[in-house]
């Protein structure tokens, strides 16, 4: 059965809520006339519930299948976290309530900050960024502010490796910096020499992802950090892949000045089809004074919230990034996850994530082309050399995985290898699941080699929709439903 759009299910007169009559008919609209009508569809609750239930069934999700989307970290989302995030004491409190009525909430933020600082070894953390990219913005603004405070606003150049996430250059540009690309070495790493070649007194910072987007730990990271620091720049670390090292390596020990942490990756708050995320940024001593407003401090009368620069003491906050205090709902979930795992469990998390990725790598490298030698970190990078001459593209290969019941891996990223296929199983997949997945991948690779091109090109077959025409979508964008002419 097809599922119509909610607007097409409109049945004027039906309603999905029962509301009382207003207590008075009087209005005080300051001279404005009430709106004549809105244009929304009308449905009763049963039809709304069924509509969205049926829509949900058209999705793959981590709850239903392996979802090895490299760099996106689709790990199990514990249900306890959803339960505690819904405690009225967290979900039903207003950001502008008097602080004496939200002491538990402020303490929770403080506890989460303590975990993040202790795990990373960093002295400070900015909690308000709304997602990873927002955290990058926070980090670069802190760097911007620190440079201004040093009277070095001439430093406008930001070094970004070519393997970086698109958010890195976009963020740098968003902050008014110019982006200078560092080439990636043949081994998928950034070399300290390549960085040194770019350094100069106009360099604000380097933005480096570690482990990098090829799923590799940057072995020269400390040397790079030292070189950047020596040149007067800062080291921004993209923490999207922090899940590979949490509990085993502290970013502070690598010379990091700022790093965002995607709570929805490393600490398992749900992705929810594209958010909400949460991207706290840990900061070094050099950058800590510039952390944005608001922030929580603990005083003699309990916790307080510093919302204005005038109350910030010696700190020099660079401003405000978000409407209120950050993604509280995600904080609760992340803290529940951390408490559940503990220091011992979090170390096991990264160990198992790396083990699972290497198991996939080792089990597939004879039939798929691994892009780099040696072990990987939390994700295994392949490229399309194994498909050469088969007429099967990475996209075709990915679509064929769908019919086998798996969500495809990340494709065509990172850009530094041709036809990238980036597999991140995460630590929450069992060996049994991986063995089944490996079996399927080997089967598909063999099928491709055997010349069954049409199988791949006609995939997926078993989904509610076959391949969608993205070109048409972009050429004449239809971005909303409009009522058909009568």
């Amino acid at each position: 059965q097809e599922e119509a759009l909610i607007f097409e299910l409109d049945n004027p007169g039906a309603i999905g809520v029962d509301l009382d009559e207003p207590v008075t008919a009087a209005t005080r609209l300051g001279g404005l006339s009430p709106r004549a009508g809105v244009g929304l569809p009308s449905l009763a609750e049963p039809d709304v519930v069924r509509h969205y239930t049926r829509l949900s069934q058209k999705n793959f999700a981590i709850d239903t299948t392996l979802y090895p989307l490299g760099s996106c970290t689709m790990k199990h989302n514990p249900r306890l976290n959803e339960k505690v995030a819904r405690l009225p004491g967290f979900s039903d409190i207003h950001p502008m309530q008097p602080v004496e009525t939200v002491q538990g909430a402020l303490e929770l933020i403080d506890q989460l900050a303590h975990w993040l600082k202790t795990l990373t070894g960093m002295p400070a953390v900015a909690m308000s960024p709304g997602a990873g990219a927002h955290g990058e913005l926070c980090g670069l603004m802190a760097i911007h502010a620190a440079l201004e405070a040093r009277g070095e606003s001439r430093r406008r150049r930001v070094l970004v490796p070519e393997s970086a996430h698109g958010t890195n250059p976009a963020t740098a540009a968003f902050c008014g910096f110019t982006v200078d690309t560092i080439p990636t070495e043949d081994n998928g790493r950034v070399s300290v020499e390549a960085v040194k070649a770019k350094l100069g007194d106009d360099v604000a910072c380097i933005m480096l992802t570690n482990p990098n987007t090829c799923g590799l730990f940057e072995p020269q990271i400390r040397e790079i950090a030292d070189a950047v620091h020596a040149a007067g720049g800062y080291f921004y670390c993209d923490g999207a892949n922090y899940n590979a090292i949490v509990g085993r390596v502290r970013p502070a020990d690598l010379g990091v000045d700022a790093m965002h942490i995607n709570l929805h990756k490393t600490f398992s708050t749900p992705h929810g089809g594209g958010g909400p995320g949460s991207g706290p940024v840990v900061l070094s001593d050099a950058l800590a004074p510039f952390a944005p407003l608001p922030f929580v401090v603990h005083g003699k009368d309990g916790f307080t919230l510093v919302e204005h620069a005038r109350d910030a003491g010696e700190a020099r906050p660079f401003g405000r990034l978000k409407g209120f205090h950050g993604q509280m709902g995600m904080f609760v979930r992340a803290l529940a996850y951390m408490l559940s795992h503990g220091a011992d469990g979090l170390r096991q998390v990264s160990s198992d994530a790396v083990l699972n990725a290497n198991y996939v790598l080792a089990s597939l490298k004879d039939v798929m082309s691994a892009s780099f030698e040696g072990p990987c970190m939390h994700e295994a990078l392949f490229d399309d050399r194994f498909l050469k001459g088969t007429g099967v593209t990475p996209l075709d290969f990915a679509k064929a995985m769908i019919d086998e019941g798996y969500h495809p891996m990340t494709m065509y990223f990172p850009l530094v290898v041709h036809g990238a296929l980036l597999i991140e199983p995460t630590e929450t997949e069992s060996k049994r699941t991986l063995d089944l997945f490996i079996g399927t991948m080997r089967h598909l690779a063999a099928k491709a080699r055997a010349g069954d091109q049409t199988h791949f090109q006609a995939s997926p077959r078993l989904t509610p929709r076959k391949r969608l025409d993205e070109t048409q979508a972009a050429r004449k964008p239809v971005l909303r439903w409009t009522r058909p002419a009568a």
């Binding site: 058209k58 502008m96 538990g104 976009a170 008014g176 090292i245 529940a336 469990g345 969608l468």
Partner: protein, 448 residues
Amino acid sequence: MRYLPLTDADRAAMLSTIGVDSVDALFRDVPDHARLPGKIAGLPDHKGELEVERHLSRLAARNVAASTVPFFVGAGAYKHHVPASVDQILLRGEFLTSYTPYQPEVTQGTLQYLFEFQTQVAVLTGMDVANASMYDGATGTAEAVLMAARVNKRNKVILSGGLHPHYREVVETTCGVMGMDIRAQAPDWKNAEELSALLDAETSAVVVQTPSLFGHLRDFTALCEAAHAKGVMVIVVVTEVVSLGLLPSPGSMGADIVVCEGQSIGNGLNFGGPYVGLFATRDKFVRQMPGRLCGQTVDADGKRGFVLTLSTREQHIRREKATSNICTNSGLCALAFTIHLSLLGEQGLVQLARINHANAVMLADKLSAVKGVSVVNDGFFNEFTVKLPRKAAKVVSKLAARNILAGVPVSRLHPDVEGLDDLLLVAVTEISSVEDMDALARGLEEVL
């Protein structure tokens, strides 16, 4: 450990397949000095569900939940009733644990609700198109200012004194770093501001809010006409979307970009986040929009389907030339918005808005009757400003001690501006009973 399926036997077998003798060997690229030999010190070990739940429940119990007291706090976040079905659909794993719909064949569920969301937002704001959400209203406003600058290549932006100060600060922070010239007006608590006179050929955009921070209502039609005559974009901010069931849409007044905080529909207070920013504009500006867009197309069989589209605007394709660095947005909050708005429907939203307004009218009358208290506003939706005979912050504290959350003192939002200490923002929604309102009026009488 309950979330980790590998057993020691599994680990041993897998290491053997890989050909190394320990997981440590896989971390060989980590510099020696940075390799921790064991778990990080200073943090507790793993805990069972019962303990974790108890720990967090104890923290939760130290907060005063809105539904447990007479509650009148607004100023950009509003306590509304959300139907139970909204959250139960949100908890479905297929929505909760899915990712950004990069593979449209297996994410039509997410894509279709995003298309419905975009349509709802466009309809509600009276605009042509909307994106698939922003982090919140404040960040959306900053993005709108940057977008306007991309459209008309101008650098100056005027912020109304009715704009929520947090929004102003986010614009100042975000757009300031880009070197924009930001002219924030003084707090307009008397609704006396005239912005048309400030517009000139250097002005990229003017940002206004309705209802304003102080609850005032305005018809921006004339402002839009004046702005358009000078090539200035008008950005209209709405922090209480329920008002759009009763008030004229920003689109009908001529807005170029509309940004709303969508929290009021479908989303709880959550101490400030996650919320959902609504972002709508005119068709002609669509390629300058920030954020994700879901578009309609057809599949190989010619059937209607949905995909993320116009991604050439986005960072993962366009990198430093992207319209924004936004990646993850507020998908699940957008879904909550869409489900709740679908339940409300045409009649429900209008009725809900009327109830909110009627409660505010009643409360304004009750508070006006308190000696020494006056309502500042001529018109308002569900929030208004009252002038008290003493400092509002003190009054709020005293009432909080009596378990009445009376509203937001303007001084908390504008601490650096003189003469606002006696102003209090009071919001009222459908959740406030007549008894709650009487409790506030009585409480005020007692503490003043």
